[in-house]
């Protein structure tokens, strides 16, 4: 048998062809009937467009190679094509596996609840989001297919507010990407500077977005459940320190209180959270969660810059029923104290989450499992009602 080397054009052409076949493979997979039809339909067009574009580019490159293009430029172009396909493949794989995890029930129905919560926020913000949530190793939002991830295995009602934070990233993106949108100016300005400044601004916006939408529940999830007090002073590449973020969220909560009336309705819960957070961070690190004057001033400036984006851009999303949630929390704790089943009626997901958190914060620790159960049951009923309503409307 001869052992001649294949010519370089053939090798390069073969690798380009491989990429085309991979794109075909992904396209075929995304149409698989075993993936939930509703989910497939929600992202189908977006994925199809992305695959089509990448395939068109790859086919053009294949033609160029066949027509004798300079090999160094063609290799560089292939590298670029491949690099562009990696996030697309990653997103497709996440979608397929995430959708399957939902169908197996790994999410205990939480993804559906998160979808309903975000659909409500989307309606209130006129955000144009028509996607869904899936399980992943951490919460994040990626604008390629606009699918929001919730963290496995933290599939409980207590973590739900983090989904609103991720939706905040989506809204920030819509502001930033519309050049005629003055609300996007802070992000566009930040994008002209260091990458980290831009990432931090997005993170801060998503934090106050979730606070504006959900009230104290988001602060409770972050301070009491999610942020690690042991590393609270450490800032990451894309994320400000937990100390700075909690400060920012509490400041936003205070701002949410302004202009409503003389009585500061969030003052009580803020004091409780502040005390708890300080205690946790001080015990864990030996250093109180304090920011220096310059950092405080910087945060204050950012809040002034970002707050109008909420009050002007998405005013109807503002959480306004904290008093109702407090009333529910009181009822729940009373029922718990009287050893009765928890049955407080409520039909708003945001109230369910806030009432559960308020009762958890002010009630005995042994009430927590029952409160979680109540909240999840109520959430499921609301979701089922929404689905029936949707079908009825249809």
């Amino acid at each position: 048998m001869a052992t001649q080397a294949p010519n370089q054009q053939a090798v390069l052409g073969g690798q380009v062809q491989e990429l085309v076949e991979q794109l075909n493979h992904v396209e075929h997979a995304l149409k698989d009937e075993r993936i939930d039809k509703e989910l497939r339909e929600r992202v189908g067009v977006r994925f199809q467009n992305l695959v089509t574009k990448q395939r068109k580019d790859a086919l053009e490159l294949r033609t160029e190679v066949a027509n004798g293009a300079a090999l160094d430029a063609a290799w560089a172009s292939l590298q670029e094509r491949r690099a562009e396909c990696i996030p697309l493949f990653a997103e497709c794989l996440d979608f397929v596996e995430g959708a399957l995890a939902r169908s197996i029930g790994l999410d205990r129905g939480l993804c559906r609840t998160a979808d309903v919560l975000l659909e409500e926020l989307n309606r209130l913000t006129d955000g144009g989001w028509n996607r869904f949530t899936i399980l992943a190793e951490g919460e994040f939002f990626y604008d390629m297919a606009e699918i929001i991830r919730v963290r496995f295995p933290e599939v409980s009602i207590w973590s739900l507010p983090v989904a609103a934070h991720e939706f905040g990233h989506y809204i920030a993106g819509t502001f930033e990407n519309r050049s005629d949108e003055p609300l996007g100016e802070p992000f566009r300005k930040a994008s002209r500077g260091e990458r980290q400044g831009w990432a931090y601004l997005h993170e801060h916006f998503a934090d106050i977005f979730a606070t504006y939408a959900l009230g104290p529940a988001y602060a409770c999830t972050c301070a009491l459940l999610r942020f690690d007090p042991f590393t609270a002073h450490e800032a990451g590449e894309d994320h400000p320190s937990a100390v700075a973020r909690i400060r920012f969220v509490l400041d936003a909560l205070e701002k949410l209180d302004e202009g409503i009336g003389v009585v500061k309705q969030y003052a009580g819960v803020m004091a409780m959270l502040q005390e708890a957070w300080e205690g946790m961070v001080s015990s864990a690190t030996g250093v109180a969660p304090e920011l220096d004057a310059a950092a405080k001033q910087e945060l204050s400036g950012k809040l002034e810059e970002l707050w109008p984006l909420l009050t002007d851009g998405v005013p109807t999303m503002r959480y306004q029923t904290w008093l109702r949630a407090q009333g529910l929390a009181a009822t729940l704790l009373e029922q718990h104290g009287n050893m009765q089943p928890l049955t407080a009626p409520v039909d708003d997901l945001r109230d369910v989450i806030n009432a559960a958190w308020m009762a958890r914060l002010s009630g005995p620790p042994e009430a927590v499992p029952k409160l979680g159960e109540w909240a999840e049951t109520r959430a499921r009923e609301i979701v089922a009602g929404r689905r029936d309503q949707g079908q009825g409307d249809g």
């Binding site: 370089q8 073969g14 997979a29 993936i35 290799w75 029930g105 190793e137 708890a276 015990s283 620790p365």
Partner: protein, 433 residues
């Protein structure tokens, strides 16, 4: 209040551990059901679940025990008291100066475990989609098992999962990550790579030749290079074909990072291993390797302006020499892809080549394995024929896949015979309870 919060976080972490544990249990149950219905003939082996029990679920138990000890310490409960749970491990009960730090560490450890479990679950569920109608993941599982048996007489069952994660990441659940979406017969030789990592880790191979390893600044690079050498040793020239023709990017040949040596170094050790192995005495083998080297060098030089190797060639060659010597002493005799195997592959190529030339029918190339043909021979033969008949790639792929199924799947003749190529199985993934 602070203590209450810490206790509440500990309880939440315990709940999460239990949730994942339950998910795995449900998944195992689902697999059994599918097997009983005959919908999967090559289910995830019992041994794989056994491994998962040993390494992952035991890890869960350890985490739970440590969490309980921490909880007891905070609440002041006497040892062995408190909420039902395993008794603290000996030595685990010590007064800690900072329980939050202890919690933080346990939380980070658990997060890593959760990530891997999600990957495992996703990978298993993934096999029920059209993405893997050709059942390449299953084929890869059995191929690795057969290589593990031949090389180390170990029944190591890996679960092949599609991934974009770095395959170097150590997997406690013994996951073999195949890069998504490039799983075809052509990339199957790469299955030797995760096996190489497992062998290197299990037998602490790098520690056996400390002197030469000490010259390397980054130990992770040595592990990657050793796994590449292992891949070439087990798979023969097919490994280099798959790497050079499909995977290794000549445009970024000299780039390296903390975890990965430069591609140029990886290719170098693969080719050097093939040049040093017994098979290299065969003119045909040597010619094939030379052709591959020529092809790579030209592609690399055309795609990249730099010319100097990022790692000294002498160091790379020394590593190859030591690794091969070690493999020869410690691995079973059939582990090395030997001249006799190469001959078998060439005979198969001759047969296939004749069949392909005689008829253009899609099934003209036989899937019936000649006596004593090993899966590795099929992969080598497929690559040799691909070079000879580039226009015939789809037919070669079908034939090679069919033959691999006949060899590895026993009576199961693969997706074509089982449910029909591209046809979907009927059992849906179980709905949530």
């Amino acid at each position: 209040m602070t203590d209450d919060l810490l206790v509440s976080r500990i309880d939440r972490l315990v709940e999460n551990l239990m949730r994942v544990d339950n998910s795995l249990e449900r998944l195992q149950h689902w697999q059994r059901e599918l097997r009983a219905k005959g919908e999967i003939t090559l289910p995830v082996a019992d041994d794989m679940w056994g491994h998962l029990n040993k390494h992952v679920q035991n890890q869960f138990k350890r985490q739970q025990t440590d969490l309980k000890a921490l909880r007891d310490e905070i609440t002041g409960a006497p040892e062995g008291d408190g909420p039902a749970g395993p008794t603290a491990r000996p030595g685990a009960r010590r007064r800690r100066t900072n329980p939050w730090a202890a919690y933080s560490k346990l939380q980070r450890d658990s997060a890593q475990l959760f990530e891997e479990c999600l990957e495992f679950i996703g990978g298993l569920a993934f096999r029920r989609t059209g993405l893997d109608d050709a059942r390449m993941c299953e084929l890869a599982d059995v191929l690795i098992l057969s290589c593990a048996r031949e090389s180390y007489a170990e029944s190591w069952n890996f679960l092949t999962v599609p991934s974009l994660r770095d395959v170097v990441t150590k997997s406690r659940a013994r996951l073999s990550r195949i890069r998504f979406p490039e799983w075809t017969v052509w990339t199957l030789p790469f299955t030797a790579y995760p096996l190489g990592h497992e062998v290197i880790e299990e037998h602490d191979i790098a520690a056996l030749f400390r002197e030469s390893v000490a010259k390397w600044q980054r130990k992770r690079h040595v592990h990657v290079l050793l796994a590449e050498i292992f891949g070439a040793y087990i798979m023969g020239p097919a490994y280099a074909h798959a790497g050079i023709q499909l995977r290794f990017d000549p445009a970024s040949a000299y780039a390296k990072d903390a975890e990965h040596p430069a591609t140029a170094s990886r290719v170098h050790v693969v080719l050097q291993a093939l040049k040093t192995m017994e098979g290299a005495q065969e003119a045909n083998w040597a010619g094939r390797v030379e052709a591959l080297e020529h092809q790579w060098t030209r592609a690399r030089d055309e795609a990249s302006r730099r010319r100097t190797m990022p790692d000294a060639t002498e160091m790379l060659d020394e590593l190859v020499e030591e690794a091969l010597r070690h493999f020869e002493y410690t691995l079973n005799r059939p582990a090395q892809y030997a001249p006799a195997d190469w001959l078998q592959a060439q005979n198969l190529v001759l047969k296939w080549s004749e069949q392909a030339a005689m008829s253009e029918a899609p099934d003209a190339i036989s899937t019936e394995p000649p006596t004593l043909t090993k899966p590795r021979d099929v992969l080598n033969a497929a690559w040799l024929l691909r070079v000879e008949r580039p226009a015939d790639v789809p037919r070669i792929e079908t034939a090679a896949s069919g033959m691999l199924w006949r060899i590895l799947g026993g009576k199961t003749a693969g997706p074509g015979a089982l449910v029909g190529a591209g046809q979907k199985s009927q059992s849906p993934i179980p709905a949530s309870p």
